[in-house]
């Protein structure tokens, strides 16, 4: 029998929502594009919103012979484990995943480290001592980010009170605006979010309210309100995805818990340079010091 030529290396991405969210999903989709451009490999993407669709998408990609499949969210963990049992050769990377099992491996982003820094800045800047957070749905990474944001603020300013609002929705920007306005009404003058597209309304609310500043999430969102965004907690999803894809393609990948924090550069706190003058030197110092210590801890 003749040996068939090895099928080309192929990469697939499954997102749990629309890739036009300017945040979590769009970042992964951009990463997929970079994998295609940098590695020159065929790629495919599908949106799968329910557990049924998610398992089906995993299974179908595996059956079609894709070598690397990204399940973009913790919810892919258990279906991927089930599918992996039938397709042991395929590598499944679960962003925000839980554990390693067979060829299923998580890719964890400690966005909370950047949110912590954002919280520190907010804690130093707040005049009302009230800060607010708008969440889409209370998923683990969202909750972690919100907790870190509060912790950061308290570290600088123990007086700080925090208020958190959830939308149960990732798309409804008008609701995001109302949630933010409600937070502003109870005195919040520093806002942060993790609500993808719905957060666009948070930016609008901040723009409308004098003296209110906010911090972007997932991507550098300075552009959305240049005079109000103090900084953004950023995940460089494309870079992380590309790193993993390289490894898998070259055959050096071993399933492990891969976790990216500030130390890796994949997670970053990106300040808005235009508003640099707002930030007292002492505060900037403290934030920088905190960032360094977190990086160091990461390094160990």
């Amino acid at each position: 029998a003749t040996r068939e030529a090895p099928a080309p290396f192929r990469v697939a991405l499954i997102t749990p929502g629309s890739i036009a969210d300017a945040a979590w999903n769009s970042g992964a989709f951009t990463g997929l594009g970079q994998i295609h451009d940098s590695l020159g490999v065929p790629i495919s993407h599908v949106e799968a919103r329910t557990p049924a669709e998610q398992e089906e998408a995993l299974r179908t990609y595996a059956a079609q012979g894709y070598d690397l499949i990204f399940g973009h969210g913790f919810e892919f963990q258990s279906p991927a484990e089930r599918v992996s049992a039938d397709y042991p050769a395929v590598v499944f990377i679960i962003t925000s995943g839980e554990r390693v099992q067979g060829n299923v491996a998580p890719l964890i982003f400690r966005l909370s480290e950047a949110s912590y820094l954002a919280g520190m800045v907010a804690g130093g800047l707040t005049k009302s001592n009230v800060i607010g957070f708008v969440g889409g749905v209370e998923l683990p990474p969202v909750r972690e980010a919100s907790e870190a944001w509060v912790a950061g603020a308290r570290a600088v300013n123990p007086e700080v009170q925090s208020r958190t609002t959830y939308l149960n929705n990732w798309d409804d920007a008008a609701l995001g605006r109302e949630a933010a306005r409600a937070l502003i009404r109870v005195g919040a003058d520093m806002l942060h979010h993790n609500a993808d597209a719905a957060a666009i309304g948070v930016f609008q609310a901040a723009k409308e309210a004098p003296g209110v500043y906010l911090f972007g999430a997932n991507a550098d969102q300075t552009e959305l309100a240049p005079s109000r965004v103090v900084g953004s907690a950023v995940i460089d999803l494309p870079r992380a995805l590309l790193l993993v894809a390289r490894e898998v393609q070259s055959g050096t990948f071993t399933p492990r818990v891969e976790s990216f924090g500030l130390g890796s550069g994949v997670v970053q706190y990106v300040p808005n340079l235009a508003l640099d003058s707002m930030i007292p030197v002492a505060l900037a110092e403290r934030v920088r010091a905190a960032e360094d210590s977190i990086r160091q801890r990461d390094g160990q």
């Binding site: 629309s18 036009a20 989709f29 009170q161 208020r163 009404r185 597209a197 666009i200 309304g201």
Partner: protein
């Protein structure tokens, strides 16, 4: 530090703001349903109104945006009318399909304009237009009289629609068509014609509602940004007993419940936030059971055979 009176006034402002697009869409849907057509395509018409508003505002300015939003809503309604009234297909499925097409087309068009991972564009919005003197009324002044122009449009549309339905010959024919198409036909009314007009008017209102979301609230378009408001509007039509004034009040109730919901979350109460999310719907149910009582839908609602 926080003045409760001021907070209450602000909650009212928010309530009226949230209610505005709902009231607009529900008023339009009231017209359609009074003629016997339930148009689940309002969600789609709102989405297209939103996109039309965004495109119009980008190209020219917010006021033109409103106009294009209305036009977009009418176009979506025309698609619905062609299939559900023209061809006599089932109204409910047609409405669902039209919404599906709208979700897809708005997304596709938006991405064509702004790239596949569409960056949020920042649009000029309609700022509040305080009416002199009135807006200084304590508590309700800013809620009622310092709102964007679309809120005033909604406030004007409600009595106008009431007049149209209950004081004009067209309104009489429209209600007759919604109750008993054969009888309306015997009276010389063209059922299809009346229904088509009703649906187009409804579409115009829905388009305006969508444009309002973009131009008076969010300042940008995002995919699926209407997030089910069209369906809420349909519930509001029922809650408002198929009367534009009722719809306006029901929209306000819903707006108030939503604003309160966020106010309660923001107050930092230690209650799972899901219970706050349920609040507007439970309140509406309560209102239905209590104050509103027995209602009858237009007898020919949803029926196509005439």
């Amino acid at each position: 530090m926080i003045d409760p009176m001021a907070v209450a006034a602000d909650v009212l402002v928010a309530a009226v703001g949230i209610a505005t697009p709902l009231a607009l869409a529900a008023t339009g849907e009231t017209i359609a349903e009074r003629s016997g057509v339930v148009n689940l395509g309002v969600e789609g018409a709102m989405l297209f109104g939103a996109l039309g508003g965004a495109i119009g505002a980008t190209a020219v300015g917010p006021v033109v945006g409103l106009g294009i939003g209305v036009l977009a809503g009418v176009l979506v309604a025309a698609l619905f009318a062609a299939v559900a009234i023209g061809a006599g297909a089932d109204q409910i499925i047609t409405g669902t399909a039209v919404t599906l097409v709208s979700v897809g087309l708005t997304g596709t068009i938006y991405r064509q304009f702004y790239g596949p991972a569409g960056v949020g564009l920042s649009l000029p919005t309609l700022s509040p237009l305080p009416l002199p003197i009135l807006s200084d009324t304590p508590l309700i002044g800013s809620a009622l009289f310092a709102q964007p122009v679309t809120t005033y449009a909604a406030a004007a549309l409600i009595p106008l629609t009431w007049y149209l339905l209950f004081r004009t010959r067209f309104g009489l024919a429209l209600r007759a068509v919604g109750e008993d198409p054969p009888a309306a036909r015997a009276a010389g009314v063209s059922v299809r014609m009346v229904r088509t007009w009703a649906v187009l008017l409804g579409g115009a209102c829905a388009g305006l509602a969508g444009a309002t979301l973009v131009l008076a609230q969010v300042g940008t378009f995002t995919e699926r940004m209407t997030a089910g408001r069209g369906f809420i509007a349909i519930a509001i039509v029922v809650l408002g007993r198929w009367n534009p004034v009722g719809a306006g009040l029901a929209a306000l109730l819903f707006g108030l419940a939503t604003a309160l919901q966020f106010a309660l979350q923001a107050a930092g109460l230690k209650v799972p936030y899901q219970f706050f999310l349920m609040f507007p719907y439970l309140l509406t149910l309560l209102a239905l059971a209590g104050a509103v009582g027995r209602v009858k839908a237009p007898a020919a609602l949803g029926r196509n055979e005439y």
